[in-house]
């Protein structure tokens, strides 16, 4: 295979070409989607049994798990207020309230 590009009047090898758009991984963290919310989930820590059924069903990865494997309060930077977590919680430990 020829190392040269067969473009008339252009004499470069593929190594000379500017790489295509390369984006760092995980940069979506810089983009906060929390302001989409019209209702917000409120975690009632006393009622929570730490069953962890809520964290995998969050479409926005907004239920952080700490090093001990326990859930922490919502990450309101990204939570869009869909209410899926409140709906799966077997212990009614998540309330959905209107954003002020």
């Amino acid at each position: 295979m020829s190392k040269k590009l067969s473009v008339p009047g252009v004499d470069v090898s593929w190594k000379d070409i500017t790489p295509g758009g390369i984006v760092e991984a995980g940069t979506c963290r810089e983009f906060k989607t929390g302001d989409w919310r019209s209702v917000k989930p409120v975690w009632k820590q006393d009622a929570c049994k730490q069953c962890l059924l809520c964290f995998p069903v969050c479409p926005d990865s907004s239920i952080p798990i700490n090093k001990d494997g326990k859930r922490e309060d919502f990450d309101y930077d990204y939570c869009k207020g869909c209410g899926v977590c409140a709906n799966v919680c077997p212990f009614h430990a998540i309330d959905m309230v209107d954003e002020d």
């Binding site: 758009g21 984006v23 760092e24 991984a25 995980g26 940069t27 979506c28 963290r29 810089e30 983009f31 906060k32 989607t33 989409w36 919310r37 069953c51 962890l52 059924l53 964290f55 995998p56 069903v57 969050c58 479409p59 926005d60 990865s61 907004s62 798990i65 090093k67 494997g69 859930r71 990450d75 930077d77 990204y78 939570c79 869009k80 207020g81 869909c82 209410g83 899926v84 409140a86 709906n87 799966v88 919680c89 077997p90 959905m96």
Partner: protein
């Protein structure tokens, strides 16, 4: 390989927040479930067919993926990933890569998989690349405004199969892609869905993803991913819809390992298909007086497909 949610929860998140999928979308739940099945130390190379997932998780200069991600077109995500896998195998053979394992995963919606990407998917599976293709099936081209696809269920109302006085939604039945992939004679094919907390939550999806990722050779997973916009249901009910889909046998859960069918979920009580159709606005017209025969028609189709699966399965 048993599923331990507490252990899995400690793994770092591989799909970040900040992507622009709709509130309550089923697709990121599926994606997170698949990626969580990767061993923590393994790398992944991911590509997406054009669709909601692609355009919402990878808006320049933002990427929601913490793994390597390759932008791809509508029809060629399977080809892109299979090429990356072939390059990886060659470089590894020449000793140009450090130790450690890299997994290759392609995601596509039903439009990019059932319709537009089926030739590249079929080719990649036939060539035997060590990769996983995941279809998140929400039953229409949701990204461009709910146009019907070959995965759209019969009689669903979409913008290109609108339900009206003469035509009651999409007239054709849905394509059974999982069975088509089984007939590629690949080592692992599964149909799965995230489920509600009473049905084991993400257990079924996780176990199938783990098997698919760590079975050498090509694997295919078809996962149900409800779409609140296109299905027109109340957003928080995401997992209720999935539960109803499996309990009515509209979306049976099964896996096929080396050609042997195995059903992984039997409903305790098989519900009539109305239970699944009723909460969805796209089927609202079916509940008007005089349309009972349409529901009967859907019920018959669901029953026939379930009966066929029971005949094929080793555990029915």
């Amino acid at each position: 390989m048993a599923f331990n949610l507490k252990q899995e929860a400690k793994k770092p998140e591989r799909l970040t927040g900040g992507h622009r999928m709709c509130a309550g979308c089923g697709a990121p739940v599926v994606v997170r479930g698949i990626l969580r099945a990767l061993n923590e130390e393994d790398h992944a190379v991911v590509s997406c067919a054009t669709g909601c997932l692609e355009v919402s998780t990878f808006i320049y200069p933002y990427s929601a993926w913490t793994d390597s991600f390759i932008h791809s077109a509508f029809e060629n995500s399977a080809a892109t990933v299979s090429g990356a896998e072939a390059a990886y195998v060659a470089m590894k053979r020449k000793g140009k890569l450090p130790q450690g394992e890299t997994k290759f995963i392609a995601f596509g919606g039903d439009g990019g998989t059932y319709d537009i990407g089926i030739q590249s998917l079929s080719g990649a599976m036939e060539r035997g690349h060590n990769m996983l293709y995941v279809c998140y099936d929400n039953g229409a081209y949701m990204n461009t405004g709910i146009q019907r696809s070959s995965a759209t269920p019969k009689y669903a109302d979409t913008t290109t199969s609108p339900a009206g006085k003469v035509v009651p939604g999409k007239p054709q039945s849905r394509k059974d892609l999982t069975m088509i992939m089984v007939n590629h004679n690949i080592p692992y094919v599964a149909q799965t869905s995230p489920l509600g907390s009473k049905k084991g939550g993400l257990k079924d999806l996780h176990e199938k993803a783990q098997k698919a990722l760590y079975t050498p050779g090509p694997a295919f997973i078809n996962a149900l991913a409800p779409c609140p916009r296109g299905w027109r249901y109340d957003t928080p009910r995401l997992l209720e819809l999935c539960d109803l889909a499996v309990d009515t046998c509209f979306w049976p859960l099964y896996e096929v390992v080396d050609g042997v069918y195995h059903i992984t979920y039997f409903p305790k009580e098989k519900l009539p298909v109305e239970a699944y159709l009723k909460p969805q606005g796209r089927f609202r017209h079916l509940f008007k007086a005089g349309n009972e025969h349409l529901i009967e028609n859907i019920q018959k189709e669901v029953d026939d497909r379930w009966a066929m699966l029971l005949k094929l399965a080793d555990n029915a």
